[in-house]
Symmetry: C2
Subunit: 301 residues, 2 copies
Amino acid sequence: MSLLVTGTVGIDTVETPHGTANDVLGGSACYFSLAASLLTPVRLVCVVGEDFPEKFRNLFANRPIDLAGMETRAGSKTFRWHGRYVGDMNHAETLRTDLNVVAEAPPKIPEAFRDTGYVFLANTHPAIQRRFIEQLRSPKLIVCDTMNLWINEFRDDLVKTLSAVDGVVLNDGEARLLTGQTDLIRAGLDVIKMGPTFVVIKKGEHGAMLVSPDEVFVLPAFPTANVKDPTGAGDSFAAGMMGHLAAIDRIDAGAMKGAMARGACMASITIESFSLDSILAAKRETLDARLTKYKQMLSFD
Amino acid sequence: MSLLVTGTVGIDTVETPHGTANDVLGGSACYFSLAASLLTPVRLVCVVGEDFPEKFRNLFANRPIDLAGMETRAGSKTFRWHGRYVGDMNHAETLRTDLNVVAEAPPKIPEAFRDTGYVFLANTHPAIQRRFIEQLRSPKLIVCDTMNLWINEFRDDLVKTLSAVDGVVLNDGEARLLTGQTDLIRAGLDVIKMGPTFVVIKKGEHGAMLVSPDEVFVLPAFPTANVKDPTGAGDSFAAGMMGHLAAIDRIDAGAMKGAMARGACMASITIESFSLDSILAAKRETLDARLTKYKQMLSFD
């Protein structure tokens, strides 16, 4: 089945101990759509400025990504982010954010996209996430992301959005901040009380945990010593997860586990290069080979 | 096969957000021997003072633990530790340590123990660990633990010990401190250059990673929302790991993975109570049931 993503497509400058990438393709919906397209057709909803480079737009070509929901707004400028990773590279320090077109009216979901079954609402203001939800006709699964800013400053709005989605992905720090629980299982269970039926807590280099009322499971990250740039790891994780669920059109517990595993493998590919380079170079077989290795790693007598 | 452990048996006072346990049984070799005895016979080498309570000594009875190497030194007092866990309970704050008998001459390995094949040297001064090694006749596998103090203050001694063992278990912070590498895989590979053929990096609630020249794998912790007291988690992990290797008398890559899995399950049992309570209450079936659940958690399509 098709998979719809709403979120940011932008231009990043990223500094890591391995070097600096200037003015490269970035943004949550960009990582998500290019990664998920290895698994299933993707419908991209985003807005960019008239300065969005043609060379970046061309990177979406020849992939099963429908750009009918990519609005190029005249007179506006594309979202830009400048970040830096230091030390263990688990957290980015934001040096500068130019919201630009992202601070204006959000894009609309095209009529032809409104019947999409699987939907990922990448991080943005929770009220905007709800406006996207209102445009959907018969979603089978809506999962949203969020961030500290909304937890701290727009908590009521976020809680409203959480009551309107089926699942939420957030990182360990955000789960603790949202619930006040230090234990991640307890944090997950508290988030579920706000509405979603499951919570995926991303733990960076330590993998991810799924918490639902019936089940808790945790999978490690796919180990790689070749971490160049962690940007987009979380969105790539979500892409592997949602891409698999949409591809097999199932959302049972078994499907969720296979989905999380693909998320872990996808994220490990993303972080092995700056920007989208390794995701753009990857084929379906790249992901499948990593998944086979991951399965072997996790099986024992 | 038999498994020998050298280390501390002492009396702990532990404060956690769940309460305080005063003057309870503790110490690395205590956690290790009681946990490992669920899997294989254990030979315990330690020294306690004449104040060591009879009720604690009785806890070792009726288990396959040979106490011939447990010296009770007249005129000496037992090792005591007072620690506190706050917040996410990943790290203990030491409030007080009374080395007592542990600051005196180390115990000797009894003649009858010197042919043991599988040996775990729990954390102590690396020079003392080497003196234990010198007393062994034909070890098949020697694994040691260590801590920040020896890395910072007795680095040369520690490096000598590392060149005399087959494997080392240490936590993520210690691996980074020892090598100066932030990436744990690179840290593990740097430790291997110091001598051991494998390194197990314990990551607390995030599981553990094995690094060898041929292989890297990582397993998550067994998830539990019922963490009462993390004391002894690392020693219990080592006990599950070494206990399995000794029980099946194999040290190949497949055996190592099964061993790490048992370590993860054993550690999760330990932390669900204060002191040794849940390990003392556990049977072999308790561990096996947890292992079955862990295996299910880590398998997916």
